[in-house]
């Protein structure tokens, strides 16, 4: 009997684009794009079951085995370090994790750098690799405002086009790492549904 593969998709534009690839790869589930409030959709013929979940939760669903596969950003993988396999770079949702600051900002190495970010692990690791002492300020949104109000010297955040930064008088000072959407797998699911998962990865790889 064909085993169903559970796939966690991030709610929103990225999830819809990722579903487009999966559909193209031979794993359609048309009901998923209908205007309704359902969160779980399945197509037994194609052997897939899709879930819409919050983008930052995808890796948790996959790591804990509630989902065999998931689509999530590299930023989430770097920040939370979930125990999952990273099987494919989907080459979509491309952006950069950057250090940004006011255009006039001059880094003063004689004192601690105040860094505001949602991504504390990434920021800490980045500055630790430079042996730089920092004061981390964890924020949950509107990070760009922190340097403007004097809360921080710089920010570490995702930059797609740089428009928000520019409009707030900030500029990219350093790129930490490029980001894109990745296909991740639960380690146990990969063993027990190995054949189906490897087939999906192979088909998806052809349309990326």
């Amino acid at each position: 009997m064909k085993q169903m593969i559970n796939i966690a998709l991030p709610k929103g534009r990225l999830g819809e684009k990722a579903y487009g690839l999966l559909e193209k790869a031979g794993y359609p589930c048309p009901e998923l794009l209908e205007d309704n409030r359902k969160l779980v959709f399945e197509n037994p013929e194609a052997g897939v079951r899709y879930f819409w979940v919050k983008p930052s939760d995808v890796a948790i669903y996959v790591e804990r085995g509630a989902s065999d596969l998931g689509i999530c950003g590299k930023d989430i993988l770097l920040e939370y370090g979930p125990e999952v396999y990273e099987l494919l770079d989907l080459q979509m949702g491309k952006c950069r994790m950057c250090v940004a600051g006011p255009k006039e900002f001059i880094d003063d190495h004689s004192r601690r750098l105040r860094v505001a970010t949602k991504f504390t692990t990434i920021a800490r690791r980045h500055y630790s690799s430079q042996s730089r002492e920092i004061e981390l300020i964890h924020l949950n949104g509107s990070i760009e405002i922190a340097p403007l109000l004097g809360l921080s010297d710089v920010i570490v955040d995702i930059v797609e086009t740089g428009k928000t930064l520019r409009e707030n008088g900030l500029e990219v000072m350093e790129t930490i790492v490029p980001i894109s959407a990745r296909l991740v797998a639960n380690k146990s699911g990969f063993k027990f549904k190995g054949e189906e998962i490897r087939r999906l990865v192979s088909e998806l790889g052809k349309v990326v």
């Binding site: 085995g65 125990e83 396999y85 990273e86 099987l87 494919l88 770079d89 380690k187 146990s188």
Partner: protein, 366 residues
């Protein structure tokens, strides 16, 4: 179905100790506490850096043990080897993603002093049988750190690059590995070999010959030869659910050869891990080689069990002036029939019972 007395992890613990005793592994008990100094010296060998400490009566800093192998190796003298022991102990760690310390029930075996091909095969066999004891739907992934590290070290002499390569292999992250090879100037031949460490995956017996056919560095050959012997041993014992998977990665400072990890269908992460740890032996000032594994029993509570229809066979509810002596006698009568009984005041906690009996003071008087 009768209510189950033992939990899944308790049943597994008993069954596994019985299995290990069958193969001549003697029970070994370690102290609940160890001097913190032991872990201080071996911090890089521990999976979690956080250790629960407290001051001992003589002023020495003590720790609740986060690891069993270190304690066993510490207490093993070179002249006493080979040592074959099994244990069932509680350890105290902060699991990844947890917000505090957890008490984890762990059982396992250690073969210290002579990890030759037979010893490694026997330990691997016991690992497979341990998983089979827990569930017939299991997979044991096998790798060899000497093979992985010789390919990684041949690709780059930069320890930072080596560490990143190991992480990427552990993630089965082929695209990331290719990007790193390109930026680190790894040759095409070495990149192809590194990629094979991710792409080669499948039943040990079938996959090993295909991997052997690659142009491997000479340093890989002892590891390959050893895996061939282990594969033949497992085959002869009827063990089939063993895969070759080089993404089973662990610290190059701890493991130096065979390394393995076990999975049970329905559980999201590995429940068994082990390998050959000669390097740990050296660090602890011990001669010889060693191999062993641990089973993490706390994870088994997630395995679905058949739900029992009832919590007890008989519920005796006491009303009004019910006589305690009559209640005790009624309970004994049922227990003598092999049934489980719970006695409580009427209107007490909700309990699922196959039969409910009400006792009032009138029966006792009558």
């Amino acid at each position: 179905m009768k209510p189950e007395t033992l939990r899944m992890d308790e049943r597994a613990s008993i069954a596994l100790r019985t299995l290990y005793r069958q193969y001549g592994y003697l029970p070994y008990q370690v102290n609940t506490f160890e001097e913190y100094d032991l872990y201080m010296r071996s911090r890089s060998m521990l999976s979690s850096e956080q250790i629960l400490t407290f001051p001992g009566v003589n002023g020495a800093l003590m720790a609740l043990k986060p690891d069993i192998t270190l304690s066993i190796v510490k207490n093993t003298k070179d002249e006493d080897v080979p040592v074959k022991v099994c244990y069932a102990e509680r350890i105290y760690r902060v699991p990844k993603g947890a917000d505090g310390f957890k008490e984890i029930m762990q059982t396992g075996v250690e073969c210290i002093g002579c990890a030759d091909d037979y010893a490694m095969g026997e330990v691997l066999l016991l690992a497979a049988k341990s998983l089979e004891t827990i569930s017939p739907a299991y997979i044991l992934d096998v790798s060899d750190m000497s093979i992985v590290s010789s390919i990684v070290c041949a690709a780059s002499s930069d320890s930072a690059v080596q560490s990143q390569l190991l992480t990427l292999i552990g993630e089965k992250n082929e695209h990331g590995l290719c990007a790193l090879c390109k930026s680190a100037g790894v040759s095409d031949e070495n990149t192809a070999l590194l990629r094979s460490l991710i792409s080669v995956y499948g039943p040990l017996e079938e996959t090993l010959p295909a991997f052997e056919a690659l142009a491997l560095p000479a340093a890989c050959l002892p590891g390959i030869k050893s895996l061939r012997v282990l594969s033949a041993m497992l085959h002869a014992q009827g063990i089939r659910s063993v895969n070759l998977d080089f993404s089973v990665i662990n610290d190059m400072n701890y493991y130096n050869g065979l390394i393995f990890s076990g999975f049970i269908a329905g559980l999201p992460s590995s429940v068994l891990s082990g390998g050959r740890y000669d390097l740990l032996m050296r660090r602890m000032g011990r001669m010889g080689s060693a191999v062993g594994f641990a089973v993490y029993l706390d994870q088994l509570e997630r395995l679905s069990q058949e739900k029992t229809a009832f919590d007890v066979d008989v519920l005796i509810e006491l009303n009004g002036t019910a006589d305690p002596v009559a209640a005790a006698n009624a309970a004994k009568a049922y227990i003598d029939q092999g049934l489980s009984v719970r006695v409580q005041r009427a209107g007490g906690a909700k309990v699922r019972a196959a039969k409910t009996v009400c006792l009032t003071g009138e029966e006792a008087q009558g």
